[in-house]
């Protein structure tokens, strides 16, 4: 009973003042500062395309196989190839072990990732085939689906799949009234004031359109617009890292 009262008083406090309860980030970063980024392409050489993307303590691996014949035959599309994304987290990627195998969460993430990536690729030249994208998370510290997308976009490019633009993703958040970029696990669990609002988003590299947008929490339209702007800026930095990794893996080792 005491804790609930405390919470109510704290949120009343934050409503009457303009100050948010989240003034300093748990890891000391600036509100628009990203965690250290790392990317590598071609980590599974026998796949058609593969890449790794790391944001702070979250690491994602993506492997692309295809285009290849789609079985069973009745799922084939005679007009175009289809994209199929399979996302999963390794059981030991988080502190509380995840039972292996698909879950409803992983199926949902697979689907929204599929939609995001489908918006930029063109498989009309490969009828009756499938391009499989496998995303696995060996280590998680929030932002797993966006790390997965960043890795998947690189892996698809590496696989030579016709792509109009790249996709870069980031998870923005709101802790009480503070907007932040690249949410970590502690922030995801923030409970004071208005609590934590989680906003994973992905932008296309050229037209800067939203290919992925999800939200979980509570936010005003103004705050949302601001968060999207912050996300767009952050994704420029993500794109830089992705492009560098792709060019390094592809470029001439000219002497």
């Amino acid at each position: 009973m005491e804790k609930a009262e405390e919470k109510m008083m704290a949120s009343k406090k934050s409503e009457s003042k303009t100050e948010s309860l989240y003034t300093k980030r748990t890891d000391g970063r600036g509100f628009e500062e990203l965690r250290p980024l790392k990317a590598k392409v071609g980590i599974v050489p026998s796949a058609d395309g593969s890449a790794m993307f790391e944001t702070g303590g979250t690491r994602a691996i993506a492997v692309v196989r295809g285009p290849r014949t789609l079985h069973p035959q009745h799922m084939q599309n005679p007009e175009t190839g289809i994209l199929r994304v399979n996302y999963g987290m390794m059981p030991f990627s988080v502190w509380e072990r995840i039972r292996p195998g698909p879950s409803r969460r992983s199926e949902e993430i697979s689907k929204v990732s599929e939609w995001a990536l489908s918006s930029v690729i063109d498989l009309s030249g490969f009828p009756n085939t499938v391009v499989d994208v496998f995303i696995q998370i060996p280590q998680a510290d929030a932002g797993t689906r966006v790390a997965g997308l960043n890795a998947a976009a690189m892996a698809l490019a590496h696989a030579g799949i016709p792509m109009k633009e790249m996709i870069s993703a980031i998870a923005c958040g709101k802790m009480d009234r503070t907007l932040v970029v690249d949410v970590n696990k502690d922030e995801e669990d923030f409970e004071e004031g208005e609590g934590a609002t989680d906003m994973p988003m992905a932008f296309t590299s050229r037209t800067k359109s939203l290919a992925l947008l999800q939200l979980d929490g509570k936010i005003s339209p103004e705050e949302l617009k601001k968060a999207i702007e912050m996300g767009k800026k952050a994704c420029e930095k993500i794109l830089e890292v992705q492009v560098k990794a792709l060019k390094e893996a592809t470029g001439g080792k000219d002497e």
Binding site: G42, D48, G49, G66, P67, R68, T69, P78, G81, V120, D122, G125, F126, P127, N128, T129, A157, H158, A159, G160, I161, P162, M163, K164, E165, M166, T204, S205, R206, Q242, V243, L246, K247, A249, T250, G251, G252, K253, D254, E255
Partner: protein, 246 residues
């Protein structure tokens, strides 16, 4: 022709501005700009812009030579697995001699390896032909799988690279554009050396002065390099065309 600078582009990256440029394969037009439509290396030739892939699966083109395995036999032909998304169809009408519908299996059986030409690429499938000289069933030897995008380097300009390998190792070599290379030699040592040389080429495909390095490597293996007239080296991955290693 000038040696072009190797410019790597990623999907969505602007390559050139201006209405005089024509987007070819791997590129597309967006307003005044020609933009990369895949990861690869830019090739501009007389305002015609292409993006040449350096990684990823093999996409068959008409006229390509491919090496594959017979995986199915229909009432009027054979299906060939060449590592692509679909199998190629070899019609009974596209082989050099008349084959009776009852002796399809005698002519080409499951598991047989063949070198064929890609005759037609359509939405519903790929048609192959074995009618020309230099194509047909292959026996003996082994198949080495490589990144199909590196095949032009193995062949070399006008087949120069593969000639060097052949004369040094005394092996028969047939290169398929689909990344399958058939090697047949008189000894295990020669065959393995050939394999090693090919793998060396693939690993160093993007380096300038590759021919010299390959010759050095071959000498390092204890083999002789015959002087072959080398035409100016092409480093941007252009296909060697039809003359590919026979």
């Amino acid at each position: 022709m000038d040696k072009e600078e190797r410019q790597v582009v990623v999907p969505g990256e602007m390559i050139a501005k201006g209405s005089e440029f024509l987007p070819g394969e791997g590129a597309y037009r967006d307003g005044m700009e020609v933009v990369a439509g895949r990861l690869g290396i830019v090739n501009i030739s007389e305002k015609h812009i292409r993006v040449i892939p350096v990684s990823g699966a093999y996409y068959p083109r008409r006229g390509n030579t491919i090496i594959g395995t017979i995986v199915d036999i229909t009432f009027n032909g054979w299906l060939i697995d060449f590592g692509g998304a679909q199998n190629a169809f070899l019609s009974v009408a596209e082989v050099p001699r008349y084959v009776n519908k009852n002796e399809l299996r005698e002519y080409l059986d499951f598991g047989d390896s063949v070198v064929v030409k890609v005759w037609d690429v359509k939405a519903r499938g790929i048609d192959a032909s074995m009618k020309m000289r230099g194509f047909g069933k292959i026996e003996g030897g082994m198949i080495v799988s490589v990144n199909p995008n590196k095949v032009p380097r193995i062949i070399g300009k006008e087949g120069s690279m593969v000639k060097i390998i052949k004369s040094a190792t005394k092996c028969d070599i047939t290169v398929g554009q689909n990344g399958k290379v058939w090697i047949a030699g008189n000894s295990i040592e020669e065959e393995l050396a050939t394999k090693k040389i090919i793998e060396f080429i693939v690993e160093n495909a993007t380096i300038n002065g590759l021919t010299e390095k390959v010759e050095k490597y071959i000498k390092g293996l204890g083999m002789k390099v015959d002087k072959i007239e080398i035409v100016a080296e092409n480093t941007d991955g252009e296909s060697g065309g039809e003359n590919d290693g026979e």
